[in-house]
Symmetry: D3
Subunit: 254 residues, 6 copies
């Protein structure tokens, strides 16, 4: 199917009837260090989601571009909404899709900071039996690939993200700045003090806004990451399309 | 300036310092009758907003694609969020931009149903002295042009909207369906019974989902509409860029 | 029926059983320029609503006197609540009436600023199948009469409102101040800049608080306006009393 | 001063400048047994509030007619809003008055069920230093008088309320029904089981909706109650008018 | 049954099946004058609740230790949450218990300031037919005993509370400070000015934070209070265990 | 210091003046498989928090016993509140402590499901400059110890939790059921399908409610875990006590 937004209501009717799964890309517009474009996360989510355009069993929704990014707010250009507002925006969008009969959805997520809100949205929709809408974080699906390709404990604007964007939109990577990104990067996300996770804002632990080893980025590696994650997404869509909706709802205790 | 999302935090810093006005496109994904794509409203908003990319004094934000469209929900493919959620999503996005020093914003709106929420958002942001962010509805800026070009009391998926989309994205207009759109269209928005505005849902008064005379659509007219409205938007941006922020805040009574 | 508030629970029981339609007057207490009393809007709504006291098919509720008037707050004496609070107060009042079996209501509204909140209240009540409660703005029902009687593009404390109050409560019009009202009035509501509706507060565009041509006011014209609008209201009550409740709920798409 | 709603913004300006105290009548529209009108509580509040019209130091606001009455909902004609909605409506109305410089307010309350919400409203307004707005329940001010006049442990539609309404609005008391009211009345409010206050709804413990001894009602006694309570109210207004606003705010601990 | 928290899910299953009534202790952590520990109210509630551990028909929940105490905030050590937050915390805890089949609950309350929120919680749970959960204030159950033992019009950190804590936890009473507590105590709760209840904060009317005659405290009297109130609680549990749940829900009007 | 709740307001005043850090234990009451008591998480938090009683620089608050546990609700005895309610209860409790001058707090957390809400609470308190209140999850502080002692990828009612409870409260471990717990346990938390984290409810992936290898539990190991984590907590308290509050607030971007 094409993008839902490119259908008329007349042609959408047929497609929605046949669709088993909705695909909702969500991301953020936030700092990704000096080398990557602010749109990294929603552009990545959009690219993965649009890989499903040709699937007969899927319908691809518009991209939600601003997410839970207050922790990046000290860096120029970061936009953000509160976790509760983001959760509501996503929950209600999915609920409106469900009114048209598509009650299984994959939320293709490009931003780690969205995860908590997306989990709460998915729980609410499931508990109400409105929709089954688990979030899918692309990086969680390719941990093995990442271990092979990169020598970093990354997390933000790292070699993996940089490679992916380089592959998807080479013009949105300022390769000359990857060294600066790495110079100011932290080795890992946040800051742990005797077991307490501090690092509430990125600026607390990273000067450049990056976390990881951006200089290891390479568009070829980005292509490998993209393909691997895309394949995982399609496997997930296959799995979910086949899963009866009644198996998706909360179980009772016997 | 390019799109904000295509800037890195480093290059955004410079641009934001120079920017006088933010431009936030918002729309909807909702039925526009059998001839127009569901994305009509956010695509139109996006097109107008992106006409400002080359302005040095403006910064263009990502498009918010789902709006206040519950009244179209009976037609296939319509997505929607509640007025309050939409209001919050927009308010918080603008407030986050204001933290970077851009406190004057034009909200380029493609969907009439969003207007109430956008007015409330603008009022809140202004009363708090966070930002001055009036909504700009493209159709309100070209009433004279519309009167010249079209013989309709339109309002939704009408000849004016159809023409505009035809101009912007010819592939998203199913011209063969314009007649069907008009056959099932109402002559005006809603339904008035002895002064009471009924017509809470579009389906209450329109069979096709359209309101107006879609068969009068023509891509050339769409080009005229686009150019006229775009010129108005740029005049507004000029005006707002020059207006001191202190003149934007609420006045006291003398 | 008399006013609901003047019934005992015992006599209300009978009347409510026979009533087809509730009538809820709502208005505001806000500046209406130097010549008109602050209570203009709730007094007008009350007058129209009370014209239905003798109808067997209607029950008249108490008047809600404070509304959505923040935009008049810089003028002395204006009271206001937020749109959300007003919406909730009205919604819950109507829902409590519906528990007694009266599920069709006309909200007789005297203040334009209340309209958005009343539309949202009506939508919620209808979507929940609690009640069908459209707002009726008295001025919307007499546009033709207004065009005949007055030469103004009014909107607030204008000749039409002034005339109506003069007719209803001559002691609440300070006729000596009508000239001052007009001197400081704007010609139309708000301020449009290249298609953007500015004028968030009345003080942004009117020095006296009035909009229109108050000096054209005349109590005889007020009587004509009152009678014409009252007739429209009663026609609406007739229509709604006869309408089956099942025809009032949202339609499904076929 | 006259009622605020009967002033124009021009004449209100002078009066508000001179006013020391606002007077806001609030009540309910709810069952008061078979003999008393549903408006009892807001009519009583209104009568007390309007006794202050001639005071130079006071400004009388419009009456808020629907309150926290869900516990009477099983009796015909009862209207109600939630405690939170009522609290917000009152809080915001008072805050808007405070913008005009009147920051001391007596909330003249006619309904016991409103008290919790009014106390929370007063606390919020005081803690924010917006206004000092204690509720005044008329019956709390005349306990001694009540003990002298009536032999009852009343609480609702009892002899004291019946007498007061008989005095204020004789046409709104159905004296023939006082016996029926008493036959079905409970002796005291609610129901206590081993120290737990049950009786969540009036219908749980009273068949007629009344609590107390309505047959002891008498308009002369009503006049005595009215005068005694009115005198208390005016003494309170004197006291509050003289009290410096800085003495009204929360104290710090030394 | 032991405390619920000391059961495993396996042994809880059996006990919950047999349990008729839940017992939820709630209190506060707030100033109780110079002689009593801050935990007075939750410790008292806990002691009463735990007296039900051996009852086969009851299940005792964990103690909620922080309540509605903003009015004590000027005194050192007082903790508090807002009425709405407390109401929600209690409501949701009880609703989760009800999912396991225990739908009758006594909320054993140690703090007067919690009462309004607990009543609203109980009303909501009852109206939704989720649970019947009346609050039980221990002091309300022993008014006669208090009249016999103490010569005070107390209310806070008074002789009755002091005696009870002395009985329950002698180490948490600083008997040397009882005289100081009484020196700075008020004779009654709050402050009434011409019928208006002022005294929003305890510090408005009590220097020591106490209200009443703490020097009358005596651990033997505390034992009498405890035993009398405990007996009342158990009588209430007997009564509620036997009451059919269908008799607990709101009645309709006939 | 002793527990705050065991202090009077008089003695609390001195202690609070000297205190640098508040310690707030929070947990849950929820299923921990057939072998462990439902109170596991709040009892563990309480034990760690109370290890700080003798520190001069710390003040220990009461334990909040019910948390974010909806995902365990199908297992008998689980209590829960919503994430938002829990977040508010914790946020407001800490804010009330901050009014007494203690603005650095360690939230000692015993339940993983609380973490998201606690992070949001900490962020809000920090952004408002009310308090710096990071959560400390005891298990996060002893990952190395756990790796040495246990051969499991646990997460809930696993060998580590079982050992700890066995050490703290031997009577609350039903050692005979550890085998049953393990038989029905999953090997890891949740369920990952092609990168999507499913497993919204524990019952989706664990029959017994446990995750890990409970049969490896041993009270001696529990002692080691307790001591190691306690030492980490005290090191954190030392660090936070010394940290200037101004270093705790969000940084600006240079």
């Amino acid at each position: 199917m094409t993008l839902l937004a490119e259908r008329t209501t007349a042609t959408a009717a047929d497609e929605l009837e046949g669709a088993d799964v909705g695909v909702l890309p969500v991301g953020s517009t936030e700092q990704h260090g000096p080398a990557l474009a602010l749109g990294m996360d929603h552009l990545a989510a959009e690219a993965f989601a649009r890989s499903a355009i040709d699937r007969e069993d899927s319908v691809v929704l518009p991209t939600i571009p601003v997410g839970v990014s207050a922790h990046h707010r000290q860096f120029d250009g970061t936009l953000y909404v509160s976790p509760e507002t983001f959760e509501r925006y996503v929950t209600e969008t999915i609920a409106s899709l469900a009114e048209h009969g598509v009650r299984k959805v994959v939320v293709v997520n490009g931003h780690g900071g969205n995860t908590g809100a997306l989990r709460r949205a998915a729980r609410t929709l499931r508990d109400d039996r409105t929709a089954f809408a688990p979030p899918w974080n692309w990086w969680d699906s390719v941990e093995d690939v990442a271990d092979d390709l990169f020598d970093e404990a990354g997390g933000h604007a790292d070699a993996m993200e940089s490679s992916l964007l380089w592959h998807l939109h080479a013009d949105l990577v300022d390769a000359d700045e990857l060294a600066a990104a790495e110079d100011g990067a932290s080795d890992g996300w946040g800051e742990s003090v005797h077991g307490a996770a501090l690092g509430f804002d990125t600026i607390d632990f990273s000067e450049s806004g990056a976390v990881g080893r951006p200089t290891q980025a390479d568009p070829e590696k980005g292509a490998q990451v993209f393909e691997a994650a895309r394949d995982q997404l399609h496997a997930l869509l296959d799995w979910l399309a086949d899963r009866p909706i009644d198996d998706c709802w909360p179980r009772d205790h016997e």
